[in-house]
Amino acid sequence: MIRTAAGDTGWGWSASLRGRLRRDRLSVSAGLAVDEVLRLQYTGPVKFTLPLLRIATVCLSLIPAFAQTATPKIVAAAKTFLASLDDKQRAGVTFSFDDEKQRARWSNLPVSMVPRAGLKMGELNAAQKKAAMDLLAGALSRRGFEKVQQIVEGDEVLKNASANKSMFGRDLFYIAILGTPSEKDPWMLQFGGHHLALNITIAGDRGILTPSLTAAQPAMYTVDGKTVRPLGQENDKAFALLAALDEGQRSKAVLTYKVADLVLGPGNDGKTIQPEGLQASAMNETQRAMLLDLIAEWANIVHESAGAARMAEIKAGLAETWFAWSGPATVQAGRNGTSYFRIQGPRLVIEYAPQPLGGDPTLHVHTIYRDPTNDYGRKSSAK
């Protein structure tokens, strides 16, 4: 029996190949799950018999097809974006792949306070801006890109409500490329500004999103009468998980002290704090599935196949993953809460911290997403 699988995700795609060898004949069946949420699934069977040599060729060509990632598309989009720039702009947007200063040049703070480098969206013409957004969209999942757009537009809302128009707004987000876009060699795409920092390392078929910061202010606003909560799912799923814990589990998960901010926010690369809270090994299957679903809000920001690989890593270390909570256990439906939570595993740190800064903490949220073993894709890009 030959079995191979590529991709395994909460709301991405997955594919599998199964074959049985009998003398010089091989039967192959292929399974493809396009989207588990929509329950669209094709499970074959596709059975055929061919001479063994021919089968080997077919398998070798089929497996990469199933395992195909978004890398070629992202590389093409990056090249298109770079080609849309003039020489001066191109020089301004590109950095060496191992430029440590540029890697760490991100923050939750406005760009006027922590200057970013690269090209500012406000300095691009319409075609260049579209090329930049196409590149970003290709590197992210559909929901991930939507989330990023909602964070950026939230900053535009903040600008409109602010007396200081020069500190906020969608024109103040920067794009940068570290290294040369390649399907084989590692390179990095950075996009960020106030309340957003995406560090996406593309290393072959891998896409590594750590460290990244997603935040929102206002964390709730309306567009055409429809409420937008850029980080609402993170909040709602966390409260649902807490509610699903029994009293004994909750007593372990809930910390006895207040947490005012992110512990491992910007400027704290490469650090791992002692984990606290409730270990996933002490959760039941349903609760572990809820924890994974919550983690997927960060892990699946990156494009689908990279998100699937990341979720597989996180699942592998799930038993040693901790969930900690500080703050009220209840929340008004449709609103963000005021509670802090942290998820920490062997290859994962997620923090969600409402900000009691000069107003309503339900309207101002910071989150951080890290892999202490592979921030900036160091491990994946090591030669």
Partner: protein, 213 residues
Amino acid sequence: MIRRLAQLSLLLMMPAPAGAHRLDEYLQASLISLSRDRVEVQLDLTPGVAVLPLVLAEIDRDRDGEFSETERAAYAAQVLRDLLVNSDGEPVRLSLVRVRFPEMPELRQGLGVIRLELSANLPARWFGGSRELTLTNRHQDRIAAYLVNSLVPLDSTIRITAQSRDIRQSFYRVTYAQSAGRPTPPAWLWGAVAALAIRSTVLFRRRRAPAVR
């Protein structure tokens, strides 16, 4: 949907523009790194806009709007006095390794971080066992929001077994198991051993040398 955001309106009242920044708290975040015979503390201090005058009053003593070297050193010393560290029940004196101040405009907007890097030697434990370290932070207690955490020790002979804090995180206790092993001997001990070895060699050679008449 996103492209039509020109018609955006806030669902709820927006916070003031300064709401983007820390306002009425003095965030003090400590990260503790433990090794066999040493503790290091990274302390990040972020004063909010509303409490900045209270903080500046302690730093900018001559009110000239700048931080002189003397003022920086004096403030760091003040913070050190407000931090109490105990190791296995015995007081430990932290020393300043490095201090970094932000520019005044950053502080004025509630965005500046003062970073202090501190360290102290811990009493050596020759036979390992359970150990405890406590950190009490009383700096600007009325306006402070404290955070304190231990990093996972890089030293494999140390394993953190428990952590506890008060609700504000102004008091922190970390208990850790230190397995038996050789702590790094102090430099004087190496010197004494070397001197003894040289002395022994000289004596041995003198005894073996044939007597000269």
